[in-house]
């Protein structure tokens, strides 16, 4: 009895529910296209989800502070383009240096957001809407509108993301490390905990003495840093860089967070939620081409699935009324009404 109650309560948790939904979805797709359940297919799915996962976990921090970072995709494109240009101009540079440069550019761009939002207390959605256009435009200006194609990039540059270590791609390793770091950051550091406080009650956070401007500054910096890293990974993975890479990807990232139960109003959300939300979207995106549904249906189905996931989420989210009546009396009532 007690154990059952415990199990039910556990099942009602958002993360568990979402995990079950993902398994169910994979199963359903598998019924229609058994190939989807193959080892290589699933590992490809995992690899494919990594960029989204990484961006979603850092976006999660931003959303927790009641913010939003619409500029991630543009930032990704800009730092990706810069790393590609760098690699093509100086093919002998060590890869690590190029990755670091990409991350530094991303960080810098993120910190610009952070300064405007943290220190000037400007509304995040407006600031990042602005920098989103600016960064995207800069990709065009700095690249002269030209592509950087695969043969211009050094082989090592392209090969890195999909090379394997112990049978697992670098992308997955990196994402795993990022997820663990972010989980640690969220749960075990003053930085992470302060973000929850800021998101819960910004004014109260000030009263407590949480350095809100500094925290926001670095939160957007972190989001930018991750965009920079993903910028390199994206460009290397698809072996091409041009102005419009990852166009509109910011909404996918936000959708992943939202599906993962990160409260868009701030203050609540977990790393596991963000990861699961990203996996959920990745499963859909990878499954639709495989199940041979007309391509014209893809967008509509994605919309329906996002809305459904969000609605299921909302059910476990709904604020109930307060329990004032003494419980033993209620049980009596229940017995009365059931007989």
């Amino acid at each position: 009895m007690n154990r059952l109650k415990y199990l039910l309560k556990y099942l009602q948790q958002r993360e568990v529910l979402l995990g079950l939904m993902i398994v169910l979805l994979i199963g359903l797709v598998g019924v229609r296209a058994p190939i989807f359940l193959g080892m290589s297919s699933l590992s490809n799915l995992l690899t494919d989800s990594t960029l989204l996962v990484m961006l979603a976990v850092t976006q999660m921090f931003v959303i927790i502070t009641r913010g939003i970072d619409l500029s991630v995709a543009s930032n990704l494109a800009l730092s990706g383009m810069m790393s590609a240009l760098l690699a093509s101009k100086f093919p002998d540079l060590p890869l690590l240096l190029i990755v670091l440069v990409a991350m530094a550019i991303g960080l810098g761009l993120g910190l610009i957001n952070g300064y405007l939002i943290g220190y000037l207390s400007l509304p995040p959605i407006v600031v990042t809407l602005g920098t989103m256009s600016v960064y995207r435009g800069l990709v065009f200006v700095l690249s002269g509108g030209a592509w950087v194609s695969s043969h211009q990039m050094p082989a090592a540059f392209i090969a890195f993301p999909l090379s394997q270590l112990l049978g697992i791609t670098h992308l997955v390793w990196i994402a795993a490390i990022v997820v663990i770091l972010m989980w640690y950051l969220a749960r075990y550091t003053h930085f992470g905990r302060d973000l929850y406080a800021i998101g819960n009650q910004p004014t109260a956070a000030n009263y407590i003495g949480i350095p809100t401007p500094r925290r926001l500054f670095w939160t957007y910096g972190l989001s930018g840093l991750m965009a920079g890293l993903c910028g390199y990974l994206w460009v290397a993975r698809y072996a091409v860089a041009y102005t419009e890479i990852a166009y509109g990807f910011e909404f996918t990232v936000i959708a992943a967070c939202v599906i993962g139960g990160i409260n868009i109003a701030g203050g609540a959300g977990t790393v596991s939620g963000a990861v699961l939300g990203s996996l959920f979207l990745a499963v859909i995106n990878n499954a639709l081409p495989v199940v041979k549904i007309s391509p014209f249906w893809q967008s509509a189905l994605t919309g329906v699935v996002i809305l459904t996931a969000v609605m299921i989420n909302a059910r476990s989210n709904k604020k109930g009324s307060r329990q004032i009546l003494p419980l033993q009396l209620l049980q009596k009532n229940a017995i009365r009404s059931s007989t």
Binding site: Y196, A197, Y207, G209, P211
Partner: protein, 525 residues
């Protein structure tokens, strides 16, 4: 009356020596866009004493608290702790210097646990790489509550706590950092009698341990019960300080408001008419059950209970704000179908909520826009052509409630807490209701205005209105009501006539009269 300089401002410390003040403020000024909130204010607090900070709404008490705790920086003046000049650029620095506060606004993080709310920003760390030591933090929180002799689940999320429980979390936070000066800005405003007693006990415990306590309250019985000395502010100016033992309550009041106030409850005898409102078999799945009562024309019906007894929930349901409610409400014999607040207003019911910040006011809207919001339909659809009427209505109620504001188009965020409450009250009076439900109408209101509110309530009933007065203040309920209904855990426990309502019997009913301790334990578990 005795002024500061006429008696010895330095009391003798418990060990017999003349203790120097631990905290001294001199010439503190603070201005907000032209408004002078504090002007040349001085304050002296010694270790081991409770200093009552007294003043009307908007006198500058909270501003002083925020200046002391580093949230605001003073424009001029100096601050000394144990003789050393200090300057707090951030709240953190104030905490490190041992100055902590329980603010008037709740400082709570709903999604975080009780333990974390206490230690937020300075959670204990351990290991390498350094990480938050959750078990230690929770253990420390447990220890803190044991010391305070309050029992609270430290791992519960704060959003699941009652208002009173939240308050104790805030108090625990202020005490968790070995503070030398603890400030409490109206800590009792939402506490019940029982919890106020707990608070007194904690304050005495602090005083015994040599902590200086600054205690802000509008209730004089509390001030006399717990404080040693007083400092009075009026309109941002320092007025007087001294020992409470040397001053009588009326003198203190006149110091505070600069004139004398009749404090007796101005209950006028009004002929009570027919039954106006009748509530039958009102129930809700989790909040209340089996609520039956009636309200007669010209009657003031008091609702008393411990905080969390469900009075507000019943009233909100009556006002059409809850779904899931069963039962019937009839007004003047006609059964009402109230589905929303709009219906309730249309039937002549008004509800003045208790939570000013969230339910009451529109902070960035003007006084005028706040007051006319529920009666917009009455003013007319095309408001643009009805400006004068709108102004006249809002002026009428602002003046009646002695609102302190510079103009009617001022945002109410710029008003002091008490004045915001007045705007909310004015808004509901403007609906010209038949039945007005006042949920803690004088919470956070200073004594002068409180008397005005009470006078107002009396005037209301004399014009034929009926009032439901929900209050956790026993004197107010007993002084104002014709009948008192006591609620306990979502039920009506007892109904008293004015004649039979004695403080003892009412409190006994409110606490469930029988095994109090057992229930308390259950409530928390």
């Amino acid at each position: 009356m005795l002024m500061t300089n006429e008696h010895n401002p330095f009391p003798i410390a418990p060990d017999g020596s003349l203790a120097p003040p631990i905290l001294t403020l001199k010439g503190i000024c603070k201005r907000f866009q032209g408004i002078v909130a504090l002007h040349e204010v001085a304050l002296n607090v010694r270790a081991g004493e409770v200093m009552a900070l007294i003043g009307e709404n908007g006198a500058g008490k909270s501003t002083m608290v925020k200046t002391l705790t580093g949230i605001y920086q003073p424009d001029s003046g100096s601050m000394h702790i144990a003789g050393k000049e200090v300057r707090f650029a951030t709240p953190q620095q104030a905490m490190l210097a041992g100055v902590t506060a329980v603010h008037q606004e709740t400082v709570m993080f709903d999604e975080l646990t009780v333990a974390e709310n206490i230690f937020i920003g300075r959670q204990p760390m351990h290991g390498f790489p350094a990480r938050v030591n959750w078990p230690l933090m929770e253990a420390q929180a447990e220890r803190l509550f044991t010391r305070l002799e309050v029992s609270l689940p430290v791992r519960a999320k704060v959003k699941d706590l009652s208002v009173a429980q939240r308050h104790f979390v805030e108090i625990a936070r202020a005490l968790s950092q070995d503070a030398r000066v603890v400030i409490m800005d109206e800590p009792t405003a939402s506490l019940s009698q029982r919890e106020i007693q707990e608070l007194y006990r904690i304050i005495r415990q602090l005083r015994a341990a040599g902590t200086a306590v600054i205690f802000i309250s509008h209730k004089f019985d509390e001030i006399y019960a717990v404080a040693d000395r007083y400092t009075v502010l009026r309109d941002g100016h320092f007025v007087a300080e001294g020992a409470l033992a040397d001053i009588s309550e009326p003198d203190l009041v006149s110091l505070m408001v600069g004139r004398s106030i009749h404090q007796t409850f101005p209950k006028q005898e009004v002929a009570i008419g027919e039954t106006l409102l009748e509530v039958k078999d009102f129930c809700h799945p989790t909040e209340f059950d089996n609520i039956n009562f009636s309200l007669r024309q010209g009657e003031i019906l008091g609702f008393y209970g411990l905080v969390g007894a469900g009075r507000s929930e019943v009233m909100q349901a009556l006002f059409g704000l809850s779904s899931n409610v069963r039962g019937s409400v009839s007004l003047a014999g006609k059964i009402l179908d109230i589905k929303s607040a709009k219906d309730a207003i249309a039937h002549g019911i008004a509800y003045v909520p208790e939570d000013r910040q969230h339910q009451g006011g529109h902070l960035t809207m003007s006084v005028q826009q706040n007051i006319t919001l529920p009666i917009l339909d009455r003013i007319g659809f095309l408001l643009g052509t009805r400006r004068n009427e709108e102004t006249a209505i809002s002026r009428h109620y602002s003046e009646q409630l002695e609102l302190k504001a510079s103009h009617l188009t001022q945002m109410i965020a710029e008003l002091s807490g008490g004045n915001q409450q007045k705007v909310v009250l004015g808004k509901w009076l403007a609906t010209k209701p038949k039945v007005i439900i006042l949920d803690e109408p004088t919470k956070g209101i200073d004594i002068g205005s409180k008397a005005a509110v009470h006078r107002f309530i009396s005037e209301l009933v004399s014009t034929g209105l009926s009032v439901i007065l929900v209050s956790s203040e026993l004197p107010e309920v007993l002084g104002m009501s014709d009948r008192v209904i006591v609620m306990h855990q979502g039920h009506i426990k007892k109904v008293f006539d004015r004649a039979h309502a004695t403080p003892e019997s009412v409190v006994a009913a409110a606490s469930g009269s029988d095994s109090l301790a057992v229930e308390m334990a259950e409530e928390i578990a």
